[in-house]
Symmetry: C2
Subunit: 304 residues, 2 copies
């Protein structure tokens, strides 16, 4: 089934204690789309870049069969650029610069061929723009949505309006608490369910993820890795794996959502093993299913 991805496309400069990537292809829509491309097809990308966007980046996305009709290129503009530096504790990150460039005035235009997309993943953009995207789509089967503190603080009412229109919200624990205005994470997730979504996913980084619906609570562990190279994009890879799996299977039951949470965790685990997008390149189906089995073993114990 088709998967429409809307969000940022960027060139990232990333510094970690284990190395450095300069002007590497990044942005939330890119990570979502590339991760999702291992499960859903076609994957359609809506974003904006400048005339400086390298042809190698286009090639990389095309090599994952990602439809780029919706990638607007502003010839006389510059691509969104982000620079970040991770500490030896990779949970701590300094943003060195954020040059929004053409992304500052991003106004997503959904090509006619994309309007009937079955599954939609709304990256972390202004909630007003998220609504504009949904106005341009023709009743998708499932809408998954990301957001961040920036919008929770500045556009709370608009975000609430978006929440009424979506099916699954994916946020981290701090964001869940911020939206619900409640300290307890489980209560926050249940409070958000009353705001519209039928499922809330709370990402907890290295500690895994929590999935809450009206009838179920489910957890996926963080994948224990000896060497994390670069956490950039992990949350987006998670969203791409999660939504991509649902688009592939079309099983939106609690059981289907559980497995989607595991696929999200699997894609995120591959993402952080290498620099920038490299962890999401060249994966095979057998690598994915082997890691799904590892996740199963990680938390399975025999009846007592």
């Amino acid at each position: 089934m088709s998967l429409l991805v809307v969000g940022s496309v960027a060139l990232d400069t990333i510094d970690t204690p284990l190395g450095r990537a300069e002007n590497a292809l990044g942005g939330s829509a890119v990570y979502v789309a590339v991760a999702g491309s291992y499960l859903a097809a076609p994957v359609r990308l809506v974003g904006v870049v400048g005339g400086d966007f390298p042809s190698e980046a286009i090639e990389l996305l095309r090599s994952r069969s990602i439809d780029l009709e919706g990638l607007e290129i502003v010839r006389d503009g510059k691509t969104f650029r982000w620079g970040g530096k991770y500490h030896s504790d990779l949970n701590v990150r300094d943003t060195l610069y954020t040059d929004l460039n053409v992304f500052e005035h991003f106004d997503p235009k959904i090509p006619a061929a994309y309007r009937k997309s079955d599954y939609v993943c709304l990256g972390n953009i202004d909630p007003v723009l998220q609504q504009k995207v949904l106005q341009q789509t023709d009743s998708p089967k499932l809408v998954v949505c990301d957001t961040m503190n920036f919008w929770i603080d500045r556009k709370y009412q608009d975000l609430l309006n978006t929440l009424r229109l979506i099916d699954v919200l994916i946020v981290n624990d701090e964001e869940a608490r911020g939206i619900a205005r409640e300290a307890n994470v489980l209560k926050s997730a249940r409070c958000i369910l009353d705001m519209g979504p039928r499922a809330v996913v709370v990402k907890k980084g290295e500690h895994g993820a929590l999935l809450v619906t009206k009838t179920m609570v489910f957890t996926a562990p963080g994948y224990p890795l000896e060497e994390v190279h670069d956490p950039t994009g992990a949350g987006d890879a998670f969203a791409g794996g999660f939504t991509g799996y649902l688009a592939k299977t079309e099983n939106l039951s609690d059981d289907g959502l559980k497995r989607a949470l595991v696929y999200g965790s699997v894609l995120a685990s591959f993402c952080i093993e290498k620099f920038s997008l490299a962890g999401l390149e060249g994966l095979t189906e057998s690598q994915l299913s082997a890691r799904v089995k590892e996740f199963q073993k990680l938390s399975h114990f025999d009846g007592v």
Copy 2:
């Protein structure tokens, strides 16, 4: 099988946003012993208190069939008292006071009747004292040991000597990193395996726990609770449930250790649901096994 527990016995004053407990029975050995008493028998306590130790506290421990021959009472001394205040984010705690009193010169003396204890749980005390305890025991089947940053910083060499004598180390992630002098948690756990223990448990509070042996990595999620009343003693309840389950089943295989991790998590989850020790009082076998099943459901997904 018999379980010997050595550590602090205290009177705690605890302030949380949801209420307050004053001079309530606490201390690491108490939480370990009470949690362990649901699984192992007999449970034997070695600790020290002052003449002010209330008879109700003695009664409470006796009601859990805990053998108190090893509880030294210094008639003209005062019991260890600790005061803590939790923030609305219960992960943040201020210690208001720590009056060690008779615990300052704690010198554990193991009664003759305790020497042949099969399972030993060494609470968080000076690693030199932990070694003295082991010198007074007669080759126990399994020794589980806790420690904290205070000893890692001040008695690192002594701690290394203790590690050579124990089977399972239970620490939090920061402590694991501190002992291994390594930023990555999984690498830290594996490094600690090379220092002596055959298993390392990394407690991550609300994020669950990680169990690492030479042949296995296993995770237990944190139990998602809408209302956490008091996190005090959760780590010790975990250690008591973990060690108690092993003492009960005597299955020290990887599979046995996995189930012990779940039992530790179950006892910790009951502990934090109520104030101070109240969460560990009056539990039934069916409550325990029901929660074990909930843990199973929390992370079980069907094959994909």
